[in-house]
C-alpha cells in the first residue's frame, strides 16, 4: 500500500448541460511532486477547484480522502485549514501592498491589543523569502517585482500557512526560462522538506524533469497515472494519453481548392504590454484564398496575442513585422484600418470582447460596418433590419427576431452573431479565435459548415484552436505555436495529434 496524502475518488462534477468531470480518480503520495496534464478544457482546473473547496461538498459527487480522513470542504478556508494551498495561474497579489503585507494578507500576525506587529511580520516574511530564495526586502511593493519573483512570493505566502499540499496551476506559463528553472529548483527543495505538490502543466519537459508521477486527464475523465521513475515514460507516451481519442465524422466534408495567397505575415514580434518579455517572436505564416489554416497552440502560447496584434495592433506594444494582403504590403495601425484592409477577427471571448450583450442582434451585426448602412452619418435602419434578417436566416440564428437581445441567446447563437458581424464587413481573411469554445456539438457542426461555405466562396480563414481534433477536422494546413514561436508547419494530411502536440510543447531548450 502506498502512503497516500490525498485520494480523490470517483469525482463527478456537472454544470448545466455539461459533465465537466466524470468518475475522476487521483491519488497523490506523501512527499511527491504529482503532475496533472491534459488538453485545455480537459477538466484539470475544475478538479482543483473541487479539491480546494471552491466548489463546495455537495456540488459534486465522489469522495475526497486527505491524510487518511474523508474531508468535506465548504470553501477555500476549510481546505487551507488542513494545509492545502492553491496558487492560481493569475496571481492573487495586491500590487500596491508590500511583500510582507501580501504574505500575511487575510492571515495577519496580530500582536498586543489586536494590532499588527509589523516588525514581527517583516522579520517572519524575511525568513520565508530566504526559504524560497528571494533576496528582496519584505517592505518592497509587490508590483515592483517581475512575474517570476511574484510567483515566489505566492509560494512564500503558502509556506506561511503551513502548507502540506501545494497546488500550482500552470506555474511557469508566464515565466521566462531562467525564472522557470529557478521555480523548479525550489519545488525540488520543498519536496525534500516533505511538502507534497500537485502541478498542473502543459510543459512536458518540465514534468518529466521533476515530477514523480503524472496523471493524465482527457475529456473530464482520468486516463492513466504513470510513474516517471521507471524511466520508460517519455514525453511521447504522455502525449498519447492526452490526445488518444477517436476522430469521427464530426466534421463536414469539403473539397480543398486553395487559390492565391491572401495574407502573409513576416517576422512578427510582439511585446507584452506591461512586462518585459516577447509574447510573439518572429512568427511568419501565410493563408491562401479558399484555404483554412490552423494555428495550434496551448494556452499561453501567444495565439490570441498574435491574432490581436495583427488585427490593428489591438494587443501588445513594439509590434514589428510585415503584413501583406494579396501581395501588397499594408499597415494596420488601428482596428478601423484593419477592417478596411479586409481583416476580420472573431475573438475567443465573445462575451467580453465580441458582443454588446445588452443590445439586440441587429445592432451587434451592424456594429463593425455601420458605415455601409449609413449615408452622411445617418443610419438606414430599415436596410439594417433587412441585412441582419438575411444573416439570421443564412446563419440559422435561433432567435425570435433580430431585435432579440444578444445576451439571452445560447453560446452557439451568440457565436453566429459574431460571425455575421464580421462577414458583413466583407473581409478578405477571417481570423477565428477558438470559434467553437463553449458551444454544444450541434452548433459546432453548424459553425464548421459556415467556415466551409466561406472558403468555398474564396475567403481565407485562419483558425486558432487548442482542440487538435477540430483543427485536424477542418484545416488544410496547420502551424504550431509554442512560447510565441512558430515551431512547425504541415499539411493536414501529415499531421497527427501526436506530432502536433510534440511541436506545441516544444521548448526553446529543455529546462535544467
Amino acid at each position: 500500500m502506498d502512503d497516500h496524502l490525498l485520494e480523490m475518488r470517483s469525482i463527478t462534477k456537472t454544470f448545466p448541460g455539461v459533465k465537466a468531470l466524470e468518475d475522476v480518480n487521483l491519488a497523490v503520495r506523501r512527499g511527491e511532486i504529482h503532475a496533472i496534464c491534459g488538453e485545455n478544457g480537459a477538466g484539470k482546473s475544475t478538479l482543483m477547484k473541487v479539491l480546494s473547496g471552491v466548489y463546495p461538498t455537495g456540488s459534486y459527487e465522489g469522495e475526497i480522502v486527505y491524510d487518511g480522513q474523508p474531508v468535506r470542504f465548504n470553501g477555500i478556508r476549510d481546505s487551507e485549514h488542513v494545509g492545502i494551498v492553491i496558487i492560481h495561474q493569475e496571481l492573487a497579489l495586491v500590487p500596491y501592498l508590500s511583500i510582507a503585507e501580501n504574505i500575511f494578507l487575510g492571515n495577519e500576525r496580530r500582536g498586543r491589543g489586536g494590532l499588527i506587529d509589523w516588525n514581527k511580520a517583516n522579520a517572519e516574511a524575511g525568513r520565508l523569502l530566504d526559504e524560497v530564495g528571494l533576496t528582496e526586502n519584505p517592505v518592497t511593493p509587490v508590483g515592483q517585482l517581475g512575474v517570476g519573483k511574484q510567483q515566489l512570493v505566492e509560494i512564500a505566502k503558502a509556506l506561511s500557512k503551513d502548507v502540506r499540499l501545494l497546488i500550482l496551476d500552470e506555474p511557469t506559463a508566464a515565466l521566462n526560462d531562467n525564472d522557470s528553472a529557478h521555480l523548479l529548483d525550489l519545488l525540488r527543495r520543498l519536496r525534500e522538506r516533505g511538502i507534497t505538490c500537485i502541478m498542473i502543466s502543459h510543459k512536458l519537459g518540465e514534468i518529466t524533469a521533476i515530477a514523480d508521477q503524472v496523471t493524465v486527464i482527457r475529456d473530464g475523465r482520468t486516463v492513466e497515472t504513470l510513474s516517471l521513475h521507471a524511466g520508460e515514460v517519455t514525453q511521447e507516451r504522455i502525449i498519447r494519453g492526452m490526445v488518444g481519442r477517436d476522430l469521427q465524422s464530426f466534421y463536414p466534408e469539403r473539397q480543398s481548392r486553395p487559390g492565391d495567397e491572401v495574407l502573409r505575415v513576416e517576422d512578427w514580434t510582439v511585446w507584452h504590454p506591461t512586462q518585459d518579455r516577447k509574447v510573439v517572436e518572429g512568427a511568419s505564416f501565410t493563408v491562401r484564398a479558399g484555404e483554412v489554416v490552423g494555428i495550434a497552440g496551448l494556452m499561453g502560447a501567444g495565439r490570441t496575442e498574435l491574432a490581436m496584434s495583427i488585427f490593428g495592433r489591438s494587443y501588445g506594444r513594439n509590434v514589428s513585422g510585415r503584413l501583406f494582403v494579396r501581395g501588397r504590403e499594408v499597415k494596420a495601425r488601428s482596428v478601423a484600418e484593419a477592417i478596411d484592409i479586409g481583416i476580420a477577427y472573431a475573438t475567443e471571448d465573445r462575451k467580453h470582447y465580441g458582443l454588446n450583450l445588452i443590445d439586440d442582434i441587429r445592432h451587434n451585426i451592424s456594429a463593425a460596418a455601420l458605415d455601409k448602412l449609413a449615408s452622411a452619418g445617418w443610419v438606414n435602419d430599415n436596410e439594417e433590419i433587412k441585412v441582419s434578417e438575411g444573416y439570421r436566416r443564412d446563419m440559422n440564428i435561433k432567435a425570435p427576431s433580430v431585435t432579440a437581445v444578444v445576451g439571452k441567446l445560447s453560446g452557439g447563437n451568440q457565436q453566429k452573431v459574431v460571425l455575421s458581424k464580421w462577414l458583413f464587413t466583407d473581409p478578405e481573411v477571417l481570423i477565428l479565435d477558438e470559434p467553437t469554445r463553449g458551444i454544444d456539438v450541434g452548433a459546432k457542426y453548424e459553425i464548421y459548415t459556415i467556415i466551409n461555405r466561406l472558403v468555398a466562396a474564396g475567403k481565407a480563414v485562419l483558425v486558432i484552436s487548442s482542440e487538435l481534433p477540430e483543427l485536424l477536422g477542418i484545416c488544410d494546413r496547420i502551424y504550431t505555436l509554442s512560447a510565441g514561436r512558430i515551431t512547425g508547419e504541415m499539411p493536414v494530411g501529415q499531421a497527427t495529434q501526436e506530432n502536433l502536440m510534440e511541436l506545441m510543447t516544444k521548448e526553446k531548450e529543455l529546462v535544467a
Binding site: A20, Y353, W378, I385, K408, S410, G438
Partner: protein, 421 residues
C-alpha cells in the same frame, strides 16, 4: 454525430452554453399583440411612464387641481426647461458610461460671459447668445480632451471642471451680479408666441402647433410601423397601435389646451422641443448615436469593432458643453441677469433626470425621451410640493428618495433579467 459533448472549454464558459433558445421563430411573426408582454418587455421604460402619470394624478389631487391649472403648467415648462436641456446632454454622457459634474458651473460661466458682453459692454443680445454657446463648446472640448485623449475618468475631469469654471464665473463677474438684460434677450426664456392667428380667450396658434405635433407623431410612427411590417418585424397589434397614438395625442392636446388658456406658446418650449426631437433622432438613427450605445454597452467589443472610441468620447463632451451653453443662455435669460451662484446643483438634477428616466449606471442603456420624463417627474414633484407649501428640507428628502428608488428599481430589473438568462 454520435459522440458525446466534449468539455471543450473551461466550465465558466460552459454554464452559459446550456441551449436556451427563445421561443421558436414562427410564433413571433404574428407580433406581440398582448399588452402584458409589451409591458413586461419594456418594464424599465413603461414603469417610468406609469410612475409619471401616477405622480401627476397624485399632485393634482393633493393640490386640489391647482397643479394642472393653465398657469401652473406653463410655469413648470419655464422653470425646468434648462434642466431638461442639460438632461439631454447628460443622458448621452451617461449612456457612454461617463458622468458630467460640471454642467452647473458651465451654465453659470456661459451666462456670465453673455451678461458681461450684453449688459456691461452693451453688445446686441445675439452676440451674448453666440458667445455663451462658443464658451460652452470650448469647455466641452476641454473636458473631451482630458477624458478621451488623456484617459482620465470623467468623474475627476468634470469634478475639476466644476471647481474651475465656478471660479472663472466669479472672476468674469468680479463677484457681483449683473442685470438686467435687454428685453429681446429676456424673451428667449420668458417670451411667448401668442395671438398670431387669434382665438377667443385662448391662443389658437398654440392649439395649431399642438395639432401639427400630434399629426407629425402619428405619421412618423405609422411610417415606422409599415416599414417594420414590410421587413417582417414584430409590431404591436393595430388596436394597440391606434390606442397609443390616441393617448399621446390626447396628452399633447390637453397640454396645448392648458398653455393656450394661459399665456400661449412659450418660446423656450419650442427650443426644447426642437432639441428633444433632434437628439432623439441623433441617438437612434446616426452612426454617432449608435456608437455611443456601443461604447457604453461594451467598450472592449466596440473598440474591436473599429469604433473610434476616443473621437466619439470627445464629441460626446463637446456636445454636452454646447447644451450647457444653451442652458446657460436660457437660465440667464429667465433670471434676467447673471449671478455668481447661478446653476448651483443643476448637474445633480440633470443626472437624476437621466437615471430616473431609465439610464443604466453601468452605461449602454438610456433614452433622451426617458430622461425628459425623468426630469419632468422631478419637476412635477418639486412644483407640486411648492404649491402645497411643503418645506424645502422635506422636498429635498423626497427627491433624494425618489432617485434612490428609481435606480434600485433599475438594478433589481437587471438582476432579474440576468437570472432569466
Amino acid at each position: 454525430m454520435t459522440r458525446t459533448v466534449p468539455p471543450s472549454s473551461e466550465p465558466e464558459a460552459q454554464t452559459a452554453t446550456a441551449p436556451k433558445d427563445v421561443a421558436p421563430a414562427t410564433a413571433l411573426r404574428t407580433g406581440t399583440s398582448d399588452v402584458r408582454t409589451l409591458i413586461t418587455r419594456n418594464l424599465r421604460q413603461s414603469g417610468i411612464y406609469v410612475a409619471f402619470v401616477v405622480i401627476i394624478a397624485l399632485f393634482a389631487v393633493l393640490t386640489g387641481g391647482t397643479s394642472l391649472s393653465p398657469n401652473n403648467v406653463t410655469n413648470i415648462v419655464l422653470q425646468y426647461s434648462y434642466i431638461l436641456i442639460l438632461a439631454i446632454g447628460m443622458v448621452i454622457v451617461i449612456i457612454a458610461g461617463h458622468i458630467d459634474l460640471s454642467v452647473g458651473s458651465v451654465v453659470a460661466l456661459t451666462g456670465a460671459v453673455s451678461a458681461v458682453l450684453v449688459i456691461r459692454h452693451g453688445m446686441p443680445w445675439w452676440v451674448g447668445v453666440l458667445a455663451a454657446l462658443a464658451v460652452g463648446i470650448a469647455i466641452g472640448a476641454w473636458h473631451g480632451f482630458w477624458v478621451a485623449y488623456v484617459g482620465i475618468p470623467a468623474f475627476i475631469v468634470t469634478l475639476a471642471g466644476m471647481l474651475l469654471f465656478r471660479g472663472l464665473t466669479l472672476q468674469v463677474l468680479d463677484n457681483i451680479s449683473l442685470s438686467p438684460f435687454p428685453p429681446q434677450y429676456g424673451r428667449i426664456a420668458s417670451g411667448f408666441l401668442n395671438g398670431l392667428i387669434g382665438g377667443n380667450g385662448y391662443d389658437a396658434f398654440t392649439l395649431l402647433v399642438g395639432a401639427i405635433a400630434v399629426a407629425g407623431y402619428a405619421v412618423s410612427t405609422w411610417r415606422t410601423r409599415t416599414a417594420r411590417i414590410r421587413y417582417q418585424q414584430p409590431v404591436e397589434s393595430f388596436p394597440l397601435f391606434v390606442a397609443k397614438i390616441v393617448a399621446v395625442g390626447a396628452v399633447v392636446m390637453a397640454f396645448a389646451w392648458q398653455l393656450a388658456h394661459a399665456r400661449g406658446l412659450p418660446i423656450v418650449l419650442i427650443i426644447l422641443a426642437v432639441l428633444i426631437i433632434a437628439y432623439g433622432i441623433i441617438t437612434k438613427r446616426t452612426v454617432f448615436g449608435r456608437q455611443v450605445y456601443a461604447i457604453g454597452g461594451n467598450l472592449a467589443a466596440a473598440t474591436l469593432s473599429g469604433v473610434k472610441v476616443r473621437a466619439v468620447n470627445f464629441w460626446i463632451f463637446v456636445n454636452m458643453g454646447f447644451l450647457a451653453g444653451v442652458a446657460g443662455v436660457v437660465f440667464s435669460s429667465r433670471s434676467n441677469g447673471a449671478q455668481p451662484a447661478a446653476g448651483n446643483m443643476f448637474e445633480l438634477d440633470a443626472i437624476a433626470a437621466a437615471f430616473i428616466g431609465g439610464a443604466a449606471v453601468t452605461g449602454g442603456v438610456g433614452t433622451v425621451v426617458g430622461a425628459m420624463v425623468g426630469g419632468l417627474i422631478m419637476a412635477v414633484m418639486s412644483n407640486g410640493m411648492q404649491l402645497m407649501g411643503v418645506d424645502q428640507s422635506v422636498q429635498s428628502v423626497v427627491k433624494g428618495l425618489v432617485l434612490l428608488l428609481a435606480v434600485a428599481f433599475d438594478v433589481y430589473n437587471k438582476r432579474r433579467a440576468g437570472a432569466a438568462r
